[in-house]
Symmetry: D2
Subunit: 395 residues, 4 copies
């Protein structure tokens, strides 16, 4: 018996920042497929060089187009600001490259005062452009929604599959004390606030789980049919400034919401309550609850109590990571032993490179990405007009 | 130094069922005021006699009017089905008795098909009738919202008061696997489903906490200004019957919702996400989270981990109470060491009899009761018409 | 039907400090029995006056003997340093007063270098003197071990009673960052360190639960037969001083242990692992686990998650109590909504005054108190001689 | 820049059972080193063939010596009953193979009535034989103590390293409802009961962490100096048979202890309380608490709340794994999303193959394995003779 040849996937990274590093670290942990980081492109050449040195990328570039021109690249991994996702993805597809796009796939990028109906229309058109370009070029679109791969979410999926019963209600949230990145505080570059930047995670997982359930129980995905939503800028109220000197990060310079809540109805009559906030202290919260007719499952991605730590003074743990966005390292905390693993990054990249190496669909697809866009921008429209938005015409 | 005379409060109980027993047990624990249960009235005489024997009530009656006619009664405690609250409360007030009314204060009781706008109008008129009658008669109206008194809620109030900062967002829920009482499954007698019967609790606590915060920070209560809501009958869907044989109690004979979600905005820009469900397995959930600009507090009334228990077989703990509505006593459970205490009943009755003995307002008032009615029926209107409902004109 | 006359118990408090205040607060919450604090005695007259004003005590004294001479006093409540328990209890019994004694009942009080065998002998003789005096005088001895009354412990007892099965193993602990009281850091006044001052609590609960089980399952209490123990002064090691500037309180001036662990075997073959430490950061830990042949119960007296709070800065909750001995109010904490209730104080005083008013034994007796002394001083002997100590000859 | 050649490690598996499968699954996830399972040996040829088919092993054998004779094998992985560890490890070393041995490294295997002093002597001699053979042959000895690699343990190590302070006290436990494997119920094959089979895990982690701390803070490992211990057969008592029909697995045919508790003192004055039981219901417990002078860390390997699930009936989750040794799938449970990962298996194999490929020591060494043997058999001696056992002469 001869050992099989290990397949190889050659990646061109576009971007060398925070997310690119998480992806590269995840590629390093891939097994069974050899991943080669062929290129890394960054606007600031020194960052590309640094990244290449750390992660063993073969070539560096300033312009992503150089990567697209290299026939030895199999897939382009777009770790760039959200408003650049769609144009780069379309170009990559046209160049015949598979595409990995970070969440959200795309959105509307323009003035905050734009009517939400137009935002919704343009965001969907942008998503369709990406999906169409990939389909036309015969390349795969991998939607990097890590929650689909987070171990608690996949365990919940298996538990519900074992139970044989439906999910009647989902309650999910991602929140923390606010982005530090200016690009995510503005409609022009972030395409919205808490809903598009954070709620996309529990929403993506919820849509994925209901679609999976539908395929299992009735042979076709269960889809959302309506959304009712409210948004707010909690850190921009009369009461706020006096009371809160600096714990929340979205106070200055933001034109997007720092809280949004959505009430979603699915075509089987089940519901989801999905919310997100950039005005939550105490460290990131990544949670999804599944209430079923025969079972209940809670996914506590973050925090959970696998590790609990205490320090009387915040300086004591200064040298060690605790968890995303925690304001103090004093008191009791819930440090993640391996935040990337619990959040699904290595599993996500494993699936993506396997999907490319083996010629199959990844678990997290462009179709899911588009549904997320439809629901979130439907929610923006709902909140603006104070009415329920029907999603069927949009899907 | 002479010991002060202990004041006495003479109570006429109307009703001898589940709630009446909880109240009577709570009266027994009152200290510093002598509580005498003078009367107990029940439609079935033998239940009144039984109750009197157990709790030491002096007299029994079939008709509550007999109690109202006794000049030796100070306060009437209405532990009767919801649709009887308002008429009995008005009569009691007219008879010069103080009134204790279980939650919800009142509602709309009629056909399920009634337009929600009319429901809202009539429910508020009913609340106003009770409040007006008490005001005119110069008697106190004690609104038996036990969450106001639940130790975790009061601790949260004190922690936020200490913090000096505002609550930006509340997330609350009461849920379980559904009422067994037929009267609570129908609009005619229950006045609605999960929202009026369960969400009234976290909603009442949220409104109480924001009102309290307003008085503290700006000298006037903070009030809700709008509600967006969705409701559903989760146990009445195509997928449901096959999968869930009998764990949920609301399947048969219900014409009310078994899930509702509300998105509420307050006049200071803060928000609340309040939901309730009669389609949740695993034991009752009573939870409220307070996210502030300087602090976060979670109130885990039920479940919490003060006690954790495990039995490999459900028969093992057959003889001991675990927690409300848990479907099995097998596996890990979170038994309440004293569910009444943790839920606020003894503290509530202590406050009520003190308020009567000392001539001061109770913490939970008719004003709070009316706000709850306005928000919940505003939510029913919102869900029916698929639009945001403004609350200011209703308060 | 005439209301029964409410019985009355007249208490003479000896001591006006921390524990006396907890007791007085608990007396205030007693229902069904009228508790009158007739006297309060304190060495410093102004403290007695203050206490009397706050809790409504009728008379104040400097010398406890004045209280013993008043025929109108029913029971004396000894809230004094441990080394004063026994002499005062004996005197009170001789004066015909019932006696309430805080834990531990008594001990050995003398030089740290005293051989442990002598400590054991003298401590037991002291306990016997108290028990004998009460028996001879026909008065009750109430042993104020609040854990017997803590709601989680009583719930565990009921759950095991329902299960019908034995407890095979108990694991219990009380720990925190160390006493501030100099009297509890020295053998002369404290009678030992962590074992006598803290481990007495989980040990008392464990002995109570096994005795109760024995009465239930075989008609006679199950008793301990041996103890193996180790003690240490963790805050007095080579490594310690450099690393820990000031978080632990037992560093200076202590001649007693700040950690002890006991391995106890019962006469039915079951076991207990009981430990205590004055070198534990993060707030007091009060925990007991019961592993049975048919069930498991965890009692999380402190911490538990009924309330969880977070503040980015320790000053934010400066004005509100969090939990005993927490070093910082920053980060996540587990504030007790009502620490006295969860720890069993009101329930304890309710039982004591009822036992006196109704002429029955309290749940926590002198017999339990003596068993605790035997095991703890047996443990000191075991640790000193590095060998198992048989308890049968001592009980 | 040229991609570096990926190093390759060729493994000969001895054993094809439960543990071998966990190891093989872990090898599959190794990245950066190519692992080839060259051989699998099993006494029953069909099991080897099955295993080879599933995990891609190249050759199968009945006799491990065939593997030792193949010069193409780099390392032998011994997944065989404990009493076979030492002889096979010595043979493998002599054949020039690196050796991976499951925990415990070795022990005493003979009649239960053997004096514990002889057990201790022979177990240490056996450990020394293995270590000596590896040293003489110049091969590495990898001690497969997965707790060293469990993410919560490594996070705790990093948090304490960051804190700069010492661990003063460790409290650890591994327990469940008892082994099903007859070989682990007998001294002849298991070398003891709960202490050697389960306590070895938290003990191994505790010894590892204190050794690591010593190297960091004083340049040399901190070692244990004494142990006091007690053992019991809880499922073999008078009370037991009536109450517990079948939930515990060690009742029939066992001659080893089903509970053991150890009190260990280290050479820096710090202590550890390590226990294990085969008489614990509710699913496996894998926990270690670290109490330091500046910090506290709890490692909740199992259970933790990353996922919480509920089913009203045990059949509902019949098709999905929950957690090791849980007696019922009803009620609330804490399913592990990936039990191998959380328990450290993939990380362990990654370290082992890297240590072989790169020529460095693994984290978990033969030295640690020997210390575990010394403490556990010292504990058996302590329990038998009822006295503290000094460890210094044994290390």
């Amino acid at each position: 018996m001869e050992a099989p040849e290990i397949p190889r996937v050659r990646v061109g990274m576009v971007g060398a920042g925070f997310v690119a590093r998480i992806h590269a670290e995840a590629y390093r942990q891939v097994h069974g497929v050899e991943v080669e980081i062929s290129w890394v492109a960054a606007a600031r050449p020194e960052r590309a060089v640094e990244f290449a040195a750390e992660f063993g990328a073969r070539h560096t570039a300033v312009d992503a187009r150089v990567i697209l021109a290299d026939p030895a690249v199999d897939v382009v991994d777009l770790c760039v600001p959200t408003h650049l996702h769609a144009p780069l993805a379309v170009e990559a597809a046209k160049a015949g490259k598979h595409v990995i796009v970070e969440k959200p796939l795309t959105g509307f990028f323009g003035p905050a005062a734009t009517p939400r109906a137009r935002m919704l229309r343009e965001a969907l058109a942008s998503a369709d452009a990406v999906i169409g370009a990939c389909r036309d070029a015969g390349v795969r679109l991998c939607y990097a929604e890590n929650w689909v791969y987070a171990p608690p979410i996949q365990k919940a999926r298996r538990l519900f599959a074992a139970s044989g019963g439906p999910i009647l209600r989902l309650v999910g949230e991602e929140s923390h004390s606010g982005t530090h990145a200016p690009i995510n505080k503005r409609w022009e570059t972030g395409g919205g606030g808490s809903l598009i930047g954070k709620a996309c995670h529990p929403l993506g997982a919820a849509l994925y789980l209901k679609a999976d359930e539908g395929r299992r129980l009735r042979g076709a995905p269960i889809r959302p049919v309506s959304v009712l939503a409210e948004v707010a800028q909690l850190a921009d109220t009369a009461a706020f400034p006096a009371g809160a000197p600096g714990y929340l990060n979205t106070v200055e310079g933001a034109d997007v919401e720092d809280w949004g809540g959505m009430l979603i109805v699915f075509d089987d009559g089940s519901v989801a309550q999905i919310s997100a906030s950039d005005a939550v202290l105490g460290g990131i919260r990544n949670q999804l609850a599944l209430y079923g007719a025969r079972a209940v499952v809670f996914c506590n991605i973050n925090p959970n109590d696998a590790v609990q730590a205490y320090a009387p003074d915040p300086a004591i743990f200064a040298g060690e990571y605790i968890t995303e966005k925690i304001e103090t390292k004093a008191g009791w905390t819930f440090p993640q032993p391996d935040e990337e693993w619990m959040t699904g990054y290595p599993q996500e990249m494993q699936d993506f490179v396997e999907s490319l190496a083996l010629g199959r669909e990844p678990l997290s697809t462009g179709g899911l990405a588009r549904d997320v866009i439809a629901v979130v921008y439907g929610a923006y429209l709902s909140a603006a007009e104070g009415r329920r938005v029907e999603l069927r015409p949009l899907l």
